[in-house]
């Protein structure tokens, strides 16, 4: 009997030790592992906490909904992108697996925030709890224009940016190839494997050699820095020779003979603008380019613009300086930057900050905050802006941009045919560029179009611009 009691005690002791060991182990993992556990990717609690608010809606400028959020479960809600691929780059995406991108990321706090106060909710516990809905965003996008731009670019690679020159509002922003933000899970592997990088928003992050559209900046620089340049006349014999090994030729080896400044711009003379570049010097031209936020962060609301680049050269690098004046060499620009150049000319030399969201609305549609247009600076005098407008009008009316002309609307623009270092093994077509605005008298839209390897700027890019202006103004 005694033996038995002792045995019982021993067994109890063993179990006591086991319980103590278990409690100690739990204390140990709580002290040393809980942070790792809570912050691990397997923890869905943060998503669930977010999910208490139904994400707000994103609208176009006319208050048509572009997104629609629905709750699926405690931890997830699905945001449906009503226009699919068309607005993919402009809006971005919200996906539980791939996170946030674009506008969805920039305005996440607003979209997930709701106007309700905590106190009023506390005293309201008798009432059935209303679904909390985040704030809405009214963007500056024009659905009709966006759809048209998407259609026109479909099957190509490139980008379209359309701005309101007076306010900087982004009317349209399309990048091709696009992706469908509704099917990210299914398509993700294919998207990543695609050589053409559909995830990249070419409109703001694509850096291309601008080619002849850059002559607009060179012309502005010349007007600002070289007195009387608009009346000067040049001899264009088809080639600008720097030394024995390098020279600059006109497109297709054209020889234009005796021409003035206006004609040189209209017909995009490389020889004349190369000469102007050398006359201006690298510093003066760079200064003008930097006024247009080359080499700098371009202030923007709702988007992030990749820095366009204008190189520095020593004064004896004549070849490079001349090349940079016609938008080649190491000059790189994003379509957004070039649209801003056109927009600045259209807005009498005043550059407006590009903006994608104009208003934040409560879930019930009440306006919470209006985002006002902002000036970035006066990049040229009003007189020079007028000269530039006339020059760009001339390009479409009698120069290289004839394809952009519309009867009844005076379109202004500049073509660009940019050589680029493609795959060295095969001959690649140049990028087709066009920047422009319309109507001449009172510009309401400024556009930049690039079609990668699309050939001459007066071709496909000018045609796309024409269609877009037609869609917007008619």
């Amino acid at each position: 009997m005694n033996d038995f009691v002792i045995n019982i005690k021993k067994v109890m002791l063993v179990f006591l030790l086991l319980f103590i060991a278990l409690i100690s182990y739990i204390t140990y993992i709580y002290m040393f592992n809980s942070e790792k556990a809570v912050s691990s990717t397997f923890n869905n609690r943060l998503w669930a906490e977010r999910n208490k608010v139904l994400r707000g809606t994103i609208y176009d400028k006319d208050m048509n909904a572009l997104t629609k959020s629905t709750k699926i479960s405690v931890t997830s809600q699905k945001e449906k992108y009503l226009q699919g691929e068309i607005f993919a780059h402009a809006i971005g995406y919200m996906n539980p697996v791939y996170g946030l991108a674009g506008l969805e990321k920039k305005y996440d706090t607003e979209l997930m925030g709701s106007g309700e106060t905590v106190v009023s909710k506390f005293f309201d516990f008798n009432k059935k709890e209303e679904e909390k809905v985040g704030n809405g965003l009214r963007t500056t996008l024009d659905s009709k224009l966006q759809k048209k731009a998407y259609e026109l670019l479909k099957g190509k690679r490139g980008a379209v940016v359309a701005l309101n020159p007076k306010t900087g509002e982004i009317l349209s922003m399309v990048s091709m190839p696009s992706y469908n933000p509704n099917n990210l899970e299914k398509d993700w592997k294919g998207i990543l494997a695609n050589k053409d990088l559909p995830l990249i928003n070419r409109a703001v992050s694509g850096l291309y050699p601008p080619g002849s559209i850059f002559k607009t900046i060179t012309a502005i620089s010349a007007l600002e820095n070289i007195p009387g340049v608009s009346n000067r006349s040049f001899v264009d014999n088809g080639t600008l020779v720097f030394n024995q090994s390098s020279s600059l030729k006109n497109y297709d080896g054209e020889v234009m003979g005796n021409i003035d400044f206006r004609k040189a711009y209209l017909h995009s003379s490389n020889v004349v603008f190369g000469t102007l570049g050398i006359d201006l010097g690298n510093n003066a031209l760079k200064e003008t380019a930097e006024k247009f936020y080359f080499n700098k962060d371009t202030p923007a609301s709702g988007i992030t613009i990749e820095n366009s680049q204008f190189p520095s050269y020593k004064s004896n690098e004549k070849g490079n300086i001349a090349q940079s004046a016609i938008g080649q060499a190491q000059v790189l620009a994003s379509p957004m930057e070039m649209a801003l150049v056109a927009s600045t000319v259209a807005n009498d030399g005043i550059m407006m900050q590009p903006m994608l969201v104009k208003e934040i609305l409560s879930s019930k549609g009440k306006s919470l905050k209006k985002i006002e247009p902002k000036q970035l600076g006066e990049n040229m005098s009003k007189e020079n802006a007028q000269i530039m407008k006339d020059l760009m009008k001339g390009v479409v009316a009698e120069g290289t941009g004839a394809n952009a002309a519309i009867s009844g609307i005076t379109v202004c623009g500049k073509t660009g045919t940019a050589d680029h270092k493609g795959d060295a093994s095969k001959q690649v077509a140049p990028h087709s560029w066009f920047i422009g605005f319309a109507p001449y008298e009172n510009p309401t839209i400024a556009i930049a179009v690039i079609v990668e390897e699309g050939g001459v700027g007066g071709g496909i890019a000018a045609q796309i611009t024409r269609e877009l202006i037609k869609t917007y103004l008619q």
Partner: protein
Amino acid sequence: MESIKEERKLLKYTYLLCIVLFVNMFFIGKDGFDKGALIMGVIICILFAYSHFIITRFFPDGDKYILLFSNVLAVIGMGILYRINSPIALKQLIWYTVGIAIFILVVVLFPSLTNFGKYKLVYMICTLILMSLGSLFGKEVFGAKNWISIGGFSFQPTEFGKLSLVAYLAASLQYYGKDIKEKSEFIKFKALIEPGIVVMISLGFMVYQRDLGSALLFFAISVTMLYIATSRFKYVIVCLVLFMVGGYISYKLFGHVRQRVLIWGDPWKYGYDEGLQLVQSLISIASGGLFGTGLGLGYPTMVPVVTSDFIFAAICEEMGLLTGFAMLILYFLLFYRCMRVPVYGKDKFTRLLAVGYSTMIAAQVLVIVGGVVGAIPLTGITLPLVSSGGSSMIITFFSLGILQKISEDGQSYE
């Protein structure tokens, strides 16, 4: 007198706990106030007031704390179940009622348990049948093949197998060492061969059914009973060695055993598939912290099978780690009260029976809580009295009833 006072105090606190839990639930109802919570709280209070009344009034000689402790644990269980999923809690309430009824019936109706020591063969056959049922007719649930359904009513035969295994071991080991002088060491050892074989067969079935939790449990029960019956530590050592060898062989032989061990080694590596349960359980416990998020404010439903195997994680998340510790302490106290019972047992059979059932409950707690927090490889068994599930509730209350009965018998004769 002093003990009655203490008992009353404990009883009051249990009511208080129950009321606080369900009033809390009343306020956090999805659509305003949840009246169902209050009704359920009142029913639970009535139930344990009634059971306590019967036991203290008519059977005052038995242990008073066994029922009290089990009630506290059951209340916590039903509380968290109501928070997670109220229909499941309602079912649990029914099973709790059935459990309490069985407890009372065992105490009231069973004759003295000493006479039951004779039916060794019956227990053996029952054990073997119940153990094999799962292998023969079982369907797979969560990777284990230990559920069978008869007429739409599904249960785990091994749960009942536990009961008969303990009874068999008690009946078979009770004769060990009688008339010591006449028997040599070898003859005594021979008496252990038969129970040894039965236990091994049971363990084999468990491993085959992938019910590793039960296997571990059976082993713990058998070793404890063996030690109590023989007082020989070297048998325990031998068993441990055999278990390790068996464990190693099944590790090499069965993929599912290897997988469990791998997950236990580094659950985070398998966080999206095989390790999902454990990882979510660890996250759940960690996000509750010491004091918990408060009922209704955490996300315990993110843990798979949270109502049964992982209920401990849910309790830790919403009620805090401290409540988890308190429960473990409560389980140990329950075990302590249960282990006091065999001390007063009149014969070896009832003593061994009491040891077996006490060990069963305590070991089950250690195995499942250890698994849920990642201390040992995870095995799917229920947390007695707390996890949702009919078989578990019935088995536990039945064994507690037997313990109560033994304590009642032992005390009243002395």
